[in-house]
Symmetry: C2
Subunit: 601 residues, 2 copies
C-alpha cells in the first residue's frame, strides 16, 4: 500500500505562495487567524488522513454499507471520524464564530477537505455533505431551524444530505414530483421518492437531515414550483427526543466505486406521517439549492483532484522501485536494468498526473479565493468575484473530473499488470474516480451551464472579467524571459477562445439554440484547458519569484519539478485546443441532424 | 440487462461490402467456402453468444475463479463452452483441413471471435488462447508434437496458454530466467516462476499446455538466449495417461475486471520434475513467440472493440428508453420531456461510440485481410502484405484499447448514475476494458514498436506501402463529390504524418535515440487516428456504392447512420492530430531531461 496520498509541500506552495491566504487575515472577518493556525489545520488533516482514513480505504471498499432490516450499516470508522470532525470543529470550519464555527477562509477548509478526500474519498463525503447542508440552513433557514439543527450537525452527531434526484428527475429537476402538503401545524406532509441520495441513512450518526427539494401542493410546474425543505429522518419531539419521521430506506445501490458511502433510495410518507419544514420562501427552493450545488460542484472537482493525487503518489512510488528495461541510450547490453521512472514514457505519465493534480487543485483554490473575497467585499467588487466564481464553477467541477479519470488511468498504467490487481490501490482509485463526471451535474450539464448560461449572463461580463484576470497573469509573465513564450501561447489561446465564443454567440443571437449548444461539452473542455493553463502560468510566476530568493537545494528540486509540470501542461495539454477549436468553429449541426432511426442496426 | 451486444448487419457490411471476404474463396486454399457457410458462422457465433455466454456474463464477474487446494475452479459454463467450441470446430477454425481445421479465412474466424468477445470477454479468452497456442505448435513444432497436442487442443479438452512474464520480466523479456536443463531423454527439466498467465490452470479442461519462453542452461543473455517450450501441466505417459508434470499454481490475481478468467502464478519444477519440450530450434524462442504475440495483439484490439460494442448497444438501448429533459428547441414549456437520445450531446456520445467501435473493427478486419492475403500470396506480394500487417499491428492493438476505454466510459456516462451501478452492465464493461492497454504489450511498448522498429524497418518501406494503400482509397473517394472534402482532409493528415516522421527519423539518424522515441506514444496515437480515418473513408466508399443500388428503406437507415459516424470521426476525432502534431514537432526533450529527483515533494 502506497503511503503518500498528497504533498504537504505543494499545498503550502498553493496556499502561501500562489494564493497568499495569509493576506485574507487582514480582513476583519478572518483577522483571528494566522499562518501558524493554518499550518496546524494542514497538520491535523494529514494526521487524520494517515491514522484514521487511509488505513480503512480498502476495507471500506471491500465491505460496502449493508442494507439490513430497513437500515444501513456502515463501517464503524465512520462514527469515529464524524466524531473527530465534530469535536475538532472541522464540519463547522467555514461557519461564523457565532454559530460555533471556526470562520476559516474557504481556501483553508478546502485544503483540509482535499487531504481527507485524498486519503479516503468515500469517508470524506460524510462530513462534507453535512457542512454543505448546514450552510443551507444557516443561509436561508429560520433562527429556530438554525438552533434546532446546526449544533448537532456541526458536532457530527447528525448527518446532512442534499436530496434532489427522483426516478423521473435526474438532470432535469423540473420533473420533481415529491409533494409537500401544508398543514396548520407549522410543517408540511411530505410524500415521494428520492434516489441516489448520498448518506441518506446510516448508523454512523444519530440522525440524518435531508435538505430536500419538493413541490408544495398547487405549486406551478417546472423549476419555479420547487421549494426547499428540511426533512429529518427522525423528528425532534417537544421533549427533545427523536421519533421516526416516516423517511424509509427503500434500498442502496451497488456501485463501481465510491463504495464506502451508502447511496440510498428513500421513500417519504409511506404512513402519511413524514414532516418537512419549509426553508425560506415557497417556490425559491432551486435558487437556494444552487448555493449548495455550486459548493458541491467545487467539492466534486476537489474530490477528483484528490483521488488523482493519491493515484499519482502511489504510481510515483511504484515507478521508483520497479526495476525493468534498460535506458535507450545504454549502448552496452551488459548495462543493468533501471527503475522504470528513468524511462521517458513513464516520466511522461508521471508528469501528466502531476500537471493534472496540481493544475486542477490550483483552479479549485482559485475558486475558493474568489469565494473568500465575496465574503469580505461589497458592491461592485463583490459582484466581480461572484461572476468569476460562477463562470469558473463548471470548469472547476468538470476539468478535474474528466481529466482525473485519465490521470488515474495513467497512474494505473504505470504499474502495468499490477495496476489491474487489488494488491495496489490504483484499481480502487480508478473506480472511485468514475463517479465525478456524473454526480452534482454531469459533464454535459456543466457544458450547457457554462455556454448556455454563464457565458451569456450580463452580456458576457463574466468572460470579460476572466480575460482581465488572465491578462494580469500574462502581463506579469511577459516580464520574465523564461515565461514569456508561455505567456504568448496563453495569449493566442485566449484570442482563439474569444473568436470561438463570438462565433457561437452569433448562433445564440439567431435563436438557433440547438446548434449553439450542440458542442457545449467541447467548449467546456476548451475553456477548462485554458483555465488550467492560466493556473499553471500563475504557479510558474510564484516559482520564479521563489527561485530568486536563494532557496535550499531541496526547495530547488521542488521548484524545478513544478517548472517541468508547468511546461508539460503547455507542451502536451494546451495544444489540444487546436483540434477542439477546429471543430467548434464548424457548427455544421452533425449531432443535431443525426436521427434516432439512423442508430438502428 | 441489455440484449444486443453487436450488430450482425455491421459485421456483414464489413465482411461482404468493405473487405469482400467472398473474393478469398477464389484462392485455392479457401475454395471450399462460400457466403452461405460464412453466414452460418456468424449465426452460430450469435447463438452461442446469446444463449451461452451473455447469460453468464455478470455471474462470472461476481463469482471469479477460486484457488482451492492448489487448483483453480472456474465457472461451470467454461467447460460447456470449450466443449461447444471444440465440437463445432471453432478452436480450429483457421487451421488447415489436414490438421482437422476448417481452413476459414481469418476475417471469418475473427468475426466469430469478435461476437463471442462482445458477449462475454472473459469467457472468449479460453478458446482464443488455445487457438493461438496450437498455431505455434503447428508452425514450429515437430510432427510428433503436433500429433500429441493439437487434436486435444482443437477438441477443447486441453487449454493452451502463452507463458512469458516473470516477476522480474514484464515489458522486458530479456530478463527471463526460467531455466531449461537438457537431459538425454528428449526433454528439458524446467525450473522457474511465471506470472500473469491467463488460464494457466483450471477445471474447465483436462489439461493445460503452456507455450513457454525459457533459457536453456548456458544460453546467451538477453532475448537471443530464449527458447520456446511446450510445458504441459500434465504430461502424457507412454500408456497415454496423464501424469502430474510439477507445474504448480502458486496463486491467482484479484483483478479490477476480466474476472471470469483466472490469471495465474505458476511455479515450475518445485520437485525437480517438470518436463519441457523444445519447440523448433534453440534460442529462436522469441521470434517464434512473436507469431503468437502478433496474433494476440490483433485479438486484444478486437476484444477491446468488442467490449466497446457491447457497451455501445447497452447505452443505445438505455438512451432510447430513458425520458428526461426537453428539446432545447421546444419553445412551449408544456412540451413533454423526450427520450434522451434526442439530445445532441447524447447523440454525440453515441456517435463517438459507434465511430470507435466500427472504425476499430474495420482496422482489425484490415489486418485480418492482410493476414489472409499473406496466406495465399507469394514473393513480393507476400512481403508487401507482411510489411503492412507488421506496421498496422501496434495501432490495431492500441487504438481500440485506448479509445475503447473512452468509448465505454461515454457509454457509462449516457446512463448517468445508473451507469455507475451494477444493475446495468456498463460498469462491468468499464472494468473489463481496462485490461487491454496493458496485456500483450502496454501502449507504451506498442509506441516503441511502431516508431522504433516498424517505421524504420527496410528503410521505411512499410510506411511507404501504407501511404500507397491510403492513397488508393483517397483517389477513389475524390471521384465522389460527397466524399471529396474528406479525402482532402485525410490527404492533409497524411502529409502531416510524413513531415513528422521525417522530423523524427532525423533524430534517429543522429543517434539521439531517447529524443527520437520520447513521444513514441503520441506518434502511435497520431498514426492510429489516421489509420482509422482511412478505414472510415473506406467504409464510406462502400456506403456510397450501396446507396447507388436502390436499397430498401431499412438499409438506407443503416447506411445513413454509417455516414454520420464516418463524418463524426472526421469532424471530431481526426482534428486531434493538430495538437499531437504540434507537440511531436517540438522534440525539446522535456521528458528525457526531467530528473527523478524533481519528483520529490
Amino acid at each position: 500500500m502506497a503511503e503518500r496520498f498528497t504533498s504537504e509541500r505543494n499545498l503550502k506552495f498553493m496556499l502561501y505562495e500562489v494564493f497568499d491566504v495569509e493576506a485574507m487575515t487582514r480582513y476583519e472577518y478572518f483577522k483571528e487567524h494566522d499562518r501558524e493556525i493554518f499550518d496546524l489545520v494542514l497538520e491535523t488533516a494529514l494526521r487524520i488522513g494517515k491514522d484514521l482514513l487511509q488505513p480503512t480505504l480498502q476495507e471500506m471498499d471491500k465491505n460496502p454499507p449493508e442494507f439490513i432490516d430497513g437500515h444501513i450499516k456502515v463501517h464503524p470508522m465512520v462514527r469515529s471520524f464524524m466524531k473527530e470532525c465534530g469535536e475538532g470543529g472541522w464540519i463547522a470550519a467555514g461557519a461564523p464564530f457565532d454559530l460555533g464555527g471556526q470562520q476559516f477562509p474557504l481556501m483553508i477548509s478546502a485544503a483540509f477537505r482535499f487531504i481527507l478526500s485524498a486519503a479516503n474519498y468515500s469517508a470524506s463525503v460524510y462530513p462534507l455533505l453535512t457542512t454543505g447542508a448546514a450552510h443551507l440552513i444557516e443561509s436561508f433557514g429560520s433562527q429556530e431551524m438554525i438552533q434546532t439543527y446546526i449544533p448537532k450537525m456541526f458536532s457530527g452527531e447528525w448527518q446532512g444530505t442534499m436530496a434532489l434526484t427522483e426516478p423521473q428527475a435526474g438532470s432535469s429537476l423540473a420533473e420533481i414530483t415529491t409533494l409537500a402538503e401544508p398543514t396548520d401545524r407549522g410543517y408540511y406532509k411530505m410524500r415521494g421518492q428520492k434516489i441516489f441520495i448520498s448518506a441518506g441513512e446510516h448508523d454512523g450518526v444519530e440522525n440524518v437531515i435531508q435538505l430536500l427539494l419538493a413541490r408544495i401542493k398547487g405549486a406551478p410546474p417546472g423549476v419555479k414550483g420547487l421549494s426547499l425543505f428540511v426533512v429529518p429522518n427522525k423528528r425532534i419531539q417537544e421533549n427533545g427526543e427523536l421519533a421516526p419521521n416516516d423517511v424509509n430506506v427503500a434500498g442502496i445501490y451497488h456501485k463501481l466505486g465510491y463504495r464506502g458511502s451508502p447511496i440510498t433510495q428513500l421513500s417519504l410518507g409511506e404512513k402519511d406521517d413524514c414532516r418537512g419544514y419549509l426553508v425560506g420562501q415557497p417556490h425559491k427552493g432551486l435558487s437556494y439549492m444552487f448555493q449548495m450545488m455550486n459548493e458541491a460542484r467545487i467539492d466534486v472537482g476537489m474530490g477528483a483532484a484528490a483521488i488523482a493525487s493519491a493515484a499519482y503518489y502511489a504510481s510515483l512510488e511504484y515507478t521508483r522501485e520497479r526495476i525493468q528495461g534498460k535506458r535507450l541510450s545504454a549502448k552496452d547490453p551488459a548495462m543493468p536494468p533501471v527503475p522504470i521512472i528513468e524511462h521517458p514514457d513513464v516520466k511522461r505519465m508521471l508528469l501528466f498526473q502531476r500537471a493534472m493534480v496540481e493544475g486542477s487543485l490550483s483552479l479549485i483554490f482559485q475558486c475558493c479565493q474568489y469565494s473568500d473575497m465575496i465574503r469580505v467585499s461589497e458592491g461592485e467588487e463583490k459582484e466581480r468575484f461572484s461572476l468569476l466564481l460562477d463562470l469558473l464553477t463548471p470548469a472547476a467541477k468538470s476539468y478535474p473530473s474528466e481529466m482525473g479519470l485519465v490521470s488515474v488511468s495513467l497512474g494505473l498504467q504505470c504499474l502495468g499488470g499490477y495496476g489491474y490487481c487489488d494488491e495496489f490501490p490504483l484499481e480502487l482509485y480508478y473506480r472511485d474516480a468514475r463517479i465525478h463526471p456524473i454526480h452534482e451535474g454531469t459533464t454535459g450539464i456543466q457544458g450547457l451551464d457554462l455556454l448556455g448560461r454563464k457565458v451569456l449572463m450580463k452580456d458576457g461580463r463574466a468572460l470579460e472579467l476572466f480575460f482581465e484576470e488572465v491578462g494580469k497573469t500574462m502581463r506579469a509573465a511577459k516580464e520574465i524571459p523564461a515565461l514569456e513564450p508561455y505567456a504568448q501561447r496563453l495569449y493566442n489561446a485566449c484570442e482563439r477562445l474569444k473568436e470561438i465564443t463570438s462565433h457561437l454567440v452569433q448562433l445564440a443571437l439567431k435563436k438557433n439554440l440547438e446548434l449553439f449548444l450542440a458542442d457545449a461539452t467541447l467548449y467546456l473542455e476548451f475553456f477548462g484547458i485554458i483555465s488550467v493553463a492560466w493556473q499553471w502560468l500563475l504557479q510558474a510566476l510564484s516559482v520564479q519569484k521563489a527561485l530568486g530568493k536563494n532557496p535550499s537545494e531541496r526547495e530547488i528540486l521542488f521548484y524545478q519539478g513544478k517548472l517541468y509540470a508547468f511546461r508539460f501542461f503547455f507542451h502536451y495539454e494546451l495544444p489540444k485546443i487546436e483540434g477542439l477549436g477546429k471543430r467548434l468553429m464548424e457548427s455544421d449541426g452533425l449531432t443535431v441532424d443525426m436521427k434516432e432511426s439512423f442508430f438502428s442496426d
